[in-house]
């Protein structure tokens, strides 16, 4: 029995070795969330993570952008994913899977920004200017995120701190649309003094903040402010220009042109899937959606589309497709804010302020965009006519960018143009799986 004792104790000894060290295994492709933003380099990489979320396929990569144009009246659905047709038919259900993924992607961006905004101030090893720049960019991205939430869904829960546990945000109550927009302005105001007045088309600067403020004030119908902030960017004419022809800002693999105020960067290693939904099978896409016949006719009309007809192209078998995103590998930038938009913002603000002049007035801004498209000056001469001309100009100019739906909603023209009689449908339903007591469904949906 002595032998048995030896064996037993030996066996226990052998196996017991495992217990402590053996069960301690660490990953290699991730790090613990306890050591994330601790010094200069990690603050910078965390900021890149925020941009990465902003550029993700469900946000500014593809899905969020598609909400802006599918809900409009230029695009038809040509693929297999029928839920996309809900946008086109203005019959969106709360179980629409695109809505859910956009919603998640935006809040993911916000959480990443919250980490930077909260943690970077305490980090050592950065100059104040560097720190301010990093925090300022995060504020800008958070502002843009809440702006997109507010214009798509109205009021949302406002999260301003990094999430550290699953129950972190349980107490957050849904805000109103006004409160959500107020948060946008707060963040823009916080970002502005922190950011340098430089030109960087891929990252936020003071000028990017001004550009977004211009859009913000336009949405708020604060025409004077919209004009001021648009002008602040336009006036930097050496850096922000309307490049002619229209295709100059995207064709021939162009990127970072002077047309661009803020664009998102993609490369062969981090691609932009947007082209897949536009390009036909022949070009390796799925042509999930395509310009509809009405738009094809408009954009090909030399008096309306002008040289913007490059937005559409035709396959060998005669199918039209959108061609703003076309590159292979899929490195197409996402154009978040273009100089053309600032001209049209200022045009609209000036028109609303009844400055219709062809010199430093609404018509001059509108004509600048038309001239670039190879069109004659506008013939509109009343306030209403100019406003409608601007609306129609935006319809063509931004046909494949996320504007048309939001434009028709903010101007109250969705009923007239799209035939949406139920005002509740001007906001998207909160995704079904996000609805809770604290986050009730928008009116008119269930």
């Amino acid at each position: 029995m002595k032998i048995l004792k030896y064996i037993l104790s030996a066996a226990i000894l052998i196996s017991a070795v495992s217990c402590k060290k053996f069960l301690d295994v660490e990953p290699r492709s991730s790090v613990s969330d306890e050591v994330t933003i601790v010094d200069g380099p990690s603050a910078k990489t965390a900021l890149n993570g925020v941009y990465n979320a902003l550029a993700s396929s469900d946000y500014y990569g593809t899905s969020f952008q598609s909400l802006g144009y599918l809900n409009g009246d230029n695009i038809k659905w040509t693929g297999s994913q029928g839920y996309l047709n809900q946008f086109i038919l203005h019959d969106v259900r709360s179980d629409n899977q695109a809505l859910t993924s956009v919603w998640s992607a935006i809040f993911q961006t916000i959480n990443r920004a919250n980490h930077v905004i909260e943690k970077v101030p305490t980090v050592t090893g950065l100059t104040d200017a560097e720190k301010n720049r990093i925090i300022g960019e995060a504020y800008f991205i958070r502002a843009l995120s809440y702006f997109d939430l507010a214009r798509t869904w109205g009021g949302v829960q406002i999260s301003l701190t990094p999430t550290t546990s699953a129950g972190d945000k349980n107490g957050l109550i849904k805000s109103t649309q006004v409160q959500t927009y107020a948060q946008v302005l707060n963040d823009l105001k916080a970002a502005e003094p922190l950011l340098p007045e430089t030109v960087d088309r891929y990252h936020a600067t003071k000028k990017t903040v001004w550009a977004l403020r211009a859009r913000y004030h336009l949405y708020q119908k604060e025409w004077a402010d919209a004009e001021i902030y648009a002008a602040k960017v336009i006036s930097d004419a050496s850096n922000y220009q309307l490049l002619a022809p229209f295709s100059a800002f995207f064709a021939n693999n162009a990127r970072g042109t002077k047309e661009s105020v803020f664009e998102l960067y993609y490369s062969a290693t981090s691609t932009n899937g947007h082209r897949n939904s536009w390009q036909p099978g022949e070009n390796g896409g799925t042509r999930q959606w395509a310009p509809n016949d009405a738009f094809v006719a408009l954009v090909n009309d030399p008096l309306i589309g002008g040289n913007r007809n490059v937005l559409v192209a035709k396959t060998g078998s005669g199918l039209w497709y959108g061609n703003l995103y076309y590159r292979s590998p899929a490195t197409d930038p996402t154009y978040v804010i273009r100089t053309a938009e600032l001209y049209l913002i200022r045009a609209e603000a000036r028109a609303q302020l009844n400055n219709l002049s062809t010199v430093n007035g609404a018509a001059s801004d509108l004509n600048a965009v038309r001239a670039r498209a190879g069109l004659l000056p506008t013939t509109a001469d009343t306030q209403n006519a100019i406003l409608l001309a601007i609306e129609n100009e935006r319809k063509i100019e931004f046909a494949e960018e996320p504007h048309r739906w939001f434009d028709l909603v903010r101007t109250g023209r969705a009923n007239e143009v799209l035939g949406i009689t139920d005002a509740n449908k001007l906001l998207m339903p909160i995704p079904l799986n996000q609805v809770s007591a604290n986050n009730p469904q928008n009116p008119g949906y269930n």
Binding site: I3, I7, A10, A11, I12, I14, S15, A16, V17, S18, C19, K20, K21, F22, L23, D24, V25, P27, R28, S29, S30, V31, D33, T36, S42, T45, N48, G49, N52, A53, S80, Q81, G82, N85, L89, D91, R93, D95, Q97, W103, F107, H115, S159, P162, T163, S165, A166, N170, Y202, T269, P280, G281, N283, G284, T286, R287, S328, Q434, Y445, N446
Partner: protein
């Protein structure tokens, strides 16, 4: 555990991986010690005994019978002529025990030499030896619920994995072949599904090695995944045991909750001559049925109808009769429907496939060594071009007695599986089935000048067939090395080291003739190298002793250390000069990635069993598991069980009963766990380094930590009856069970406002209650003629008992898991009828609010069958043998996505129309369930229509085998021991109401979505002819 931890700290320098070496040293070191403890004497020869063992029914010699002299450790094995030979110190007379699996144990008193012993074949399952965790038992002594399947019954079924061959063979084991693609993953559940986010697959053990059952596939083949089980050659398998209840599975603790499938491969026998066997067969496979597609004319007609109706419903679309797509060419259209030509693509894609299989084996043994060598090659073509599966395998099992109390041995299996793959399932490009089945039948294959045409952005089928280039090579080694030492009689120590290694090499090339490779991509090549390595070291100490005459006692303790590492490196290249260049080194653009993960498991286990006079049984099992992937607060889990049995037949009142030949009652209860499929670092809060921007590295939150994370825990109660009637002519086994799984490892949806979508936590519960019944009858048992029938039926009721919020699965949320319903339930809008007046689909307005909204979606149907099983008959008449086997499943629903992704009555342009949907509404008063074709309104906009939900119940003639063995008199002249010719047919008949090609189908490897039929080829009907030759 505290104490052990302290010990471990003091011996912390010794690393886990050196334990094998230590154990071996231990055995070799202790061996002589143990030897010296025994008294060694010079052998005295007192008698020499020779004899012959024959089969009492057929009177033919019995090989491999073990002859044992009572009271000694001495035993010999009969040779091919049934002869044995003893030289012993015992004096006549003495008692001999003769035993062999499949025969009744014989006790005979030898008064002198030679002796002739007749062994009676056992028709009783009671004598069957059953492998359980870390031991074997006779079925009569079994306290737990275990199903056993002999590989000879199943091995000729032409599917790649042995698990797929088990369909209908074992009660309580549900098997669904997802697609007719050899080597692809299948659905296996033992007593139901226990988990949502962890795996519900059983634990597979081959020759003591816990093997990997998770596919290493990363290439997209339409949602499906390959089966690692297909790397194992079924021809090398002797037996398969399925452990089901708590007593059987608790010894596997944290991995036992989904049942355990133990595979025992073939080994040689001591003292037998070398025997060479060949099994060769060749065959063909074809589809039982394919899909019924409407003609080009009908297909074009519905396109027109939908076009015009949509225009009527929404005039702004400007769709009118005048501009309908199929109008005369002279009017600028595609020609009238009646002018359309038919194009059959199904016949281009499907073929009569060939099957071939070659098995060679050599087995035998000397007094101290036994061996089994196997060499096999199998080639199975899918009926869908160009897919095929080949596997070459090599098997070597060796056992060596070092001396009278130490033996060592090894099991080795090395295989190489090659899969020529193609996408069939979900996804628009490169997809065989989408290009074929979904394409309208009026779409021309080629332009007038012969140029292949692509439609709908899909590939041209012929171009795919000509240019498909996707394949995978899996090199798999499963091996085990052990040493056994009988320290004192009854006390055995065993140590073993095992490896499961899989090198999985994937490559894919899309040349410019395919959509994915055409300009501007200009060729796309993908190469991926994955490997999965599992190291296992295990020690057991077993003790078995009979105290007095009636107290039978056994004990087992053991430990396991297991480490699993999985890594992958992959690269993608695009932009090739031309189609002659396929290697990524020639690509203009390349990207690459790398992944690595590791998980460790440490375990201790024990078993105590006791029976009084083989009448009253008790067994207690327990295992403690510590895993690296769980939170620091719950790293260890404990899983106990208890089992009781009462063999009433041994009681006086039944002992002499002539009707009841056996009666046993069993009951067991216990806990098992589950963690399979959970990420190795799931409990840690992590940031990823992969969130780059502007080509500069970026970091971002990846997952929330949960230090409290722990195993899912399954409590199982089982009660069983085993009954033998009329001298075991009828054997009946019934089991009732109740499994309740709590602490589900749940990827709990969290509000997105947190920045996360899910959080892995232990929440939720699931139950499985069911019954199993197996009846085996020996209808006829005469010299020269036998007939055995077996029947099994199992039913399982699965219910999600607790789930805080519903979870939807798969695209369009077709599948939903919610509290109170069962897994694999479909979440749909219920179409009640089609309004005969206007052709509009009428959906059930569940909340009566007057409109059809998401609130009206409901759980309708489930892919889980109400009951399933098999029915088998085997007959032997002189040299002839026949086996007829049916498997069946009742009450399982299938959601027919092939219909959904077809034309949807013309609302999807240029897609096909299945015959079941041709009867769409056209005229007022028409009664149909296919709504009026229009893209406006709910008729086709609602994508979760119950109309596509169909009954998937089936009965299939799973296999039919006919064989003839040549008379031995004839074959022995040619020194051939046995020669048998046979024919095997599989899936010869299929009875089902399902409208698709095969109700046994699933498009996705997502374990929570079942019964989604989309684009997978059906299981083939096969016929094979073969021969077994033994020399």
């Amino acid at each position: 555990m505290q104490k052990i931890k302290r010990i471990s700290a003091s011996y912390g320098l010794i690393l886990g991986r050196s334990t094998l070496l230590l154990s071996l040293i231990l055995v070799t070191f202790l061996g002589p010690l143990a030897a010296s403890a025994q008294v060694q004497t010079k052998p005295i020869i007192n008698s020499t005994l020779t004899g012959t063992v024959i089969n009492s029914r057929t009177k033919s010699p019995v090989e491999g019978a073990v002859v044992h002299i009572n009271g000694t450790t001495h035993e010999v094995v009969t040779d091919r002529e049934g002869k044995f030979n003893f030289v012993t110190g015992q004096k006549f007379p003495y008692t001999l025990f003769v035993s062999l699996i499949g025969y009744k144990k014989k006790e005979i008193v030898a008064n002198g030499s030679p002796v002739n012993i007749e062994l009676e074949e056992s028709v009783s399952q009671l004598d069957e030896i059953v492998v359980v965790g870390y031991a074997t038992q006779e079925r009569r002594n079994l306290v737990s619920s275990v199903s056993k399947v002999s590989a000879t019954e199943t091995k000729n079924l032409p599917v790649a994995g042995f698990n797929e061959q088990l369909q209908g063979k074992a009660a309580g084991v549900q098997i669904n072949s997802n697609a007719g693609i050899p080597g692809d993953g299948i659905f296996v559940r033992v007593r139901g599904t226990t988990s949502i986010n962890a795996s519900s697959d059983p634990l597979y053990i081959v020759d003591g090695v816990f093997i990997n059952n998770t596919s290493l596939q990363t290439l997209n083949t339409g949602g499906r995944a390959t089966s690692p089980i297909a790397d194992i050659n079924p021809a090398d398998i002797e037996n398969i045991e399925v452990l089901k209840d708590a007593t059987a599975t608790a010894i596997y603790g944290a991995r036992g909750a989904n049942g355990v499938i133990i595979v025992t491969t073939k080994r040689g026998n001591f003292n037998t001559k070398a025997r060479v066997s060949f099994n060769i067969n060749q065959g063909v496979a074809s589809a039982i049925k394919l899909w019924d597609l409407e003609s080009a004319e009908a297909n074009a007609e519905v396109m027109n109808v939908a076009w015009i109706n949509t225009g009527i419903d929404k005039p702004s679309t400007n769709q009118t009769f005048a501009n309908r797509p199929f109008r005369p060419v002279s009017e600028g259209g595609k020609g009238l429907p009646s002018e359309q030509q038919d194009y059959d693509r199904l016949n281009d894609l499907y073929r009569t496939a060939s099957l071939s299989n070659y098995d060679f084996s050599l087995q035998g043994g000397t007094s101290a060594t036994r061996y089994y060598f196997g060499l096999s090659y199998t080639d199975q073509e899918s009926i869908m071009r160009p897919v095929y599966f080949t596997r070459g395998s090599f098997k070597a099992n060796l056992d060596q007695k070092v001396n009278s109390f130490i033996s060592v041995g090894m099991s080795n299996s090395l295989s190489r599986s090659f899969r020529n793959q193609a996408t069939a399932g979900d996804g628009p490009t490169g997809n065989m089935m989408v290009s074929t089945l979904n394409s309208a039948t009026y779409l021309a294959k080629n332009a007038a000048d012969g140029t292949p045409i692509r439609w709908n952005g899909w590939d041209n089928l012929q171009q795919l067939l000509d240019n498909y280039n996707t394949n995978t090579k899996s090199l798999r080694y499963i091996g085990n090395l052990y040493a056994d030492a009988e320290i004192i009689p009854g006390l055995k120590f065993r140590t073993s080291a095992s490896v499961d290694y899989d090198n999985y090499n994937e490559s894919q090339y899309w040349n410019t003739n395919t959509v994915q490779g055409s300009a501007p991509t200009n060729g796309r090549a993908t190469s991926g190298l994955s490997d999965n390595t599992t190291w296992i070291n295990e020690q057991t100490l077993t003790f078995r002793h009979r105290f007095g005459t009636k107290h039978n006692f056994g004990a087992l303790i053991g430990n396991t250390l297991q480490s699993n590492i999985r890594q992958r490196t992959s690269a993608v290249g695009t932009g090739f000069a031309n189609n002659s260049f396929e290697l990524i080194s020639s690509a203009a653009n390349t990207t690459s990635s790398q992944a690595w993960t590791k998980g460790n498991l440490a375990s201790f286990f024990s078993r105590l069993d006791y029976n009084y006079a083989y009448k009253y049984y008790i067994e207690v099992d327990a295992r403690a598991d510590g895993a690296s992937n769980f939170g620091k607060n719950n790293q260890w889990g404990y899983f106990p069980s208890i089992g009781l049995a009462w063999r009433l037949k041994e009681e006086e009142f039944l002992k002499n009963n002539s009707v009841i030949s056996d009666l046993k009652l069993r009951a067991s209860a216990g806990y098992t766990g589950n963690q399979a499929g959970i990420d190795n670092f799931a409990s840690q809060g992590l940031w990823t380094g992969g969130a780059s921007y502007f080509d500069v590295a970026g970091t971002a939150p990846q997952q929330l930590g949960n230090p409290d994370l722990k195993w899912e825990k399954t409590r199982q109660i089982d009660a069983g009856v085993e009954l033998g009637l009329f001298n075991d002519r009828i054997n009946l086994q019934v089991d009732l069970y109740d499994k309740y799984t709590s602490d589900l490892l749940l990827s709990l949806p969290v509000p997105a406002v947190t920045g996360f979508n899910t959080y892995l936590t232990n929440l939720g519960a699931m139950s499985n209650k069911g019954y199993e019944l197996t009846i085996v009858t020996n209808n006829i048992r005469k010299p020269g003629f036998s007939w055995q029938t077996s029947f099994n039926i199992s039913g399982n009721i699965n219910k999600i008992e607790k789930l805080p919020a519903p979870i939807t699965v798969y695209s369009r949320d077709w599948v939903r898991m919610q509290e109170g319903s069962s897994m694999y339930s479909f979440w749909l809008y219920k179409q009640l009828s089609v309004d005969p007046a206007n052709g509009d689909a009428i959906f059930e307005d569940v909340n009566k609010d007057g409109s059809i909204t998401v609130a009206d979606r409901q759980i309708l149907g489930s892919a889980t069958p109400k009951f399933y099983g098999g029915f088998n008959n085997s007959l032997n008449y002189r040299g002839f043998d026949a086996n007829v086997f049916f498997s069946y499943s009742y009450g399982n629903d299938v959601y027919n996505l092939n219909r959904f992704f077809a034309a949807e009555s013309g609302t999807r342009p240029d897609r096909s129309v299945q015959s079941i949907d041709k009867n769409y509404w056209t005229t007022p008063g028409q009664i149909t369930n296919v709504p009026r074709p229009t893209s406006v309104g709910n008729n086709y906009l609602i994508e979760q229509n119950s109309r596509m939900l169909e009954d998937g119940s089936f009965i299939r003639l799973k296999s039919l085998t006919l064989g003839y063995t040549l008379p031995k008199k004839l074959t022995s002249r040619f020194k051939v021991e046995s020669l048998r010719f046979y024919a095997v047919g599989s899936n010869l008949l299929l009875f089902t109401k399902y409208s698709g090609a095969d109700p046994e189908t699933n498009v996705t490897s997502n374990q929570n979505a079942q019964g989604l039929d989309y684009g997978t080829p059906p299981q083939p009907r096969t016929i094979q002819f073969g021969l077994n030759l033994t020399l």
